[in-house]
């Protein structure tokens, strides 16, 4: 099982000091966090993609290429890459290039993006969101698997005898996760291709995601990729920890109360009840995360959102120390207990290469 971080890349004021980091500080902080992820023994770093303030990561493969050069084991990923507004040709090329630079330590998570105004900036329309996700991925899938592509669709110019370069490393396309919060269509798409399904469950109650994940698992089996238990499921989570749970709550509460995504609604306690947000001792976070398996079945990838709500970099790095030293080793051990032998690990470049017929 893989454990890692995903980051939105938001520039959020620290409510306890009123200070807002500059874009340069935030971008460098994201890189520092990525390098720290490898240092503390995590497996994955995934960055968001956004094209509007207050977010900085508009160019994920640039950032991930830099991180690739500074790391040895870390898998570089996204959360998410916009399959709707990016040209699938450019996605095919950017991520194949990154694969070569990172010696295969690359996968990606596709998402649609939920901000209407972003679409026309890239010549698209949010009302075609699902259709764009289907057509663009259909092309991306072919560009990585066929050396020469003739193609015609609704949203970009036709391709005649086109070869996307560089070709994927060792002829193995990067593994793809399809991220969704509410669309059964995307669960169906992930199942159809035998790709991974990442349920970003961090803001909503579990009942909602149980439906989506079960649908994905059943349809994965329907399309002949394996049993429902053999499907590839990823989940999110967001935590804040201190040795004593009361210290964690006291320190995190002003961040929660003022954060754009959390604040001014339910209390911290109510939000923890309804969503995966876990604020407390490392043991409480472990217990909470282990529950995911009861709700969603054995799964392959757990990503934590750690640099949220305007927390300063120093605090985030402390959190990563606790995560790497006290939480993830226990989670690795506990998730392995009673895990059926047929439940696969998340695909990596190496495992996919081994499956290629000689």
């Amino acid at each position: 099982m893989q454990f890692g971080l995903f980051t939105v890349g938001d520039v959020t004021p620290d409510p306890t000091t009123g200070r807002t980091p500059t874009e340069a500080e935030r971008i460098k902080a994201m890189v520092t966090i990525a390098l720290k992820a490898e240092e503390v023994g995590l497996d994955v770093f995934a960055t968001g993609e956004h094209h509007n303030p207050p977010f900085v990561p508009s160019s994920p493969t640039t950032m991930l290429g830099y991180v690739a050069a500074k790391t040895e084991r870390l898998i570089l990923s996204t959360a998410t890459t916009l399959i709707t507004t990016n040209d699938p040709v450019k996605i095919a090329e950017d991520f194949a290039m990154l694969q070569h630079l990172a010696d295969g330590r690359v996968d990606l998570m596709l998402g649609r993006g939920n901000t209407g105004p972003v679409y026309p900036w890239f010549g698209q329309d949010i009302r075609n969101g699902i259709q764009l996700a289907f057509e663009n991925y259909n092309l991306l899938h072919r560009l990585w698997r066929e050396d020469v592509v003739d193609w015609e669709g609704n949203f970009r110019t036709p391709l005649q005898g086109f070869t996307s370069t560089p070709r994927p490393l060792d002829g193995v396309p990067p593994f793809v996760w399809h991220g969704s919060i509410r669309s059964p269509e995307i669960a169906e798409q992930a199942a159809y291709y035998g790709d991974g399904f990442f349920a970003n469950n961090i803001f909503w109650p579990k009942e909602h995601f149980q439906g989506l994940i079960n649908l994905y698992r059943e349809r994965f089996a329907h399309y002949g990729h394996g049993t429902p238990e053999e499907a590839y499921v990823g989940l999110g989570g967001q935590v804040f920890m201190r040795k004593n749970s009361q210290d964690a709550i006291k320190e995190f509460r002003p961040y929660f109360d003022n954060a754009p995504v959390y604040g001014h609604g339910p209390s911290l306690e109510d939000f923890m009840e309804e969503t995966p947000l876990a604020v407390g001792s490392p043991d409480q976070v472990i217990e909470r995360t282990l529950k995911f398996r009861e709700h969603f079945g054995d799964y392959q990838r757990q990503l934590f959102l750690m640099d949220h709500a305007g927390l300063p970099l120093k605090t985030v790095l402390e959190q990563l120390d606790i995560l790497g030293e006290e939480v993830v080793p226990v989670l690795r051990r506990e998730f392995a207990v009673g895990r059926p032998a047929n439940v696969p690990d998340a695909p990596t470049h190496k495992s996919l290469l081994e499956k290629v017929p000689a």
Binding site: I130, F134, N154, P184, E188, F203, Y223, P266, F271
Partner: protein, 191 residues
């Protein structure tokens, strides 16, 4: 048959709730659940902020979806349904009321607001593709004192509601999975 009454009354006791109760009673339906939005006011506001309903509100939303018929009663505030009432409708799934028989009713200080039912409530439920009964029931303060036609209107509206509840079977709640090829071909795409 299951009937759900949504009451957006704020007073206790509330004339809006009273009207809801009288309408429910007049239908003769035995399985009646009353949802007092006042008790869910904070949960509704939280849902607007977070994008998801808490457990208590979720139960209320599910009850509305599962009902065979609905009675919706709001006080008229500033020429329309109350903000609390509209906020609850806003957090309902936009397909929750499709094909569902709905009786609309309202209370107010004077009869001068009675057409708010026709220019605000009815279009709201029509938009949600509910089947709104022809008779809507407005109760002004004066109606409670010298009840001449209120009881008549209540009985007529309740009769229309139960007639529709019997005639319109509840739609199946679980949409079937649409296979991927079929979704693609709906967009004119092939694999």
């Amino acid at each position: 048959m299951k009937l759900v009454v949504i009451s957006a009354g704020l007073g206790q006791p509330s004339s809006t709730r009273l009207l809801g109760d009288r309408l429910a009673q007049a239908t003769g339906v035995e399985d009646v659940q009353v949802i007092e939005l006042r008790e869910l006011a904070v949960d509704i506001a939280n849902n607007l902020v977070t994008g998801f309903p808490g457990a208590r509100l979720r139960a209320a939303l599910e009850a509305v979806e599962a009902a065979d018929g609905l009675i919706a009663v709001t006080p008229i505030f500033t020429a329309s349904y109350s903000g609390l009432f509209k906020s609850f409708i806003d957090v309902l799934d936009n397909t929750a009321l499709v094909g569902k028989p709905v009786l609309i009713a309202a209370t107010g200080g004077t009869a001068r607001h009675s057409l708010a039912l026709e220019h605000a409530m009815r279009p709201l439920f029509t938009y949600l593709r509910a089947v709104v009964v022809p008779t809507s029931v407005y109760a002004a303060t004066e109606d409670w004192g010298n009840d001449t036609t209120l009881s008549e209107r209540i009985d007529r509206a309740a009769g229309e509601l139960t007639g529709l509840m019997r005639a319109l079977p509840r739609r199946s709640p679980e949409p079937a999975v649409v296979p991927f090829e079929q979704q693609l071909s709906a967009f004119g795409l092939t694999v």
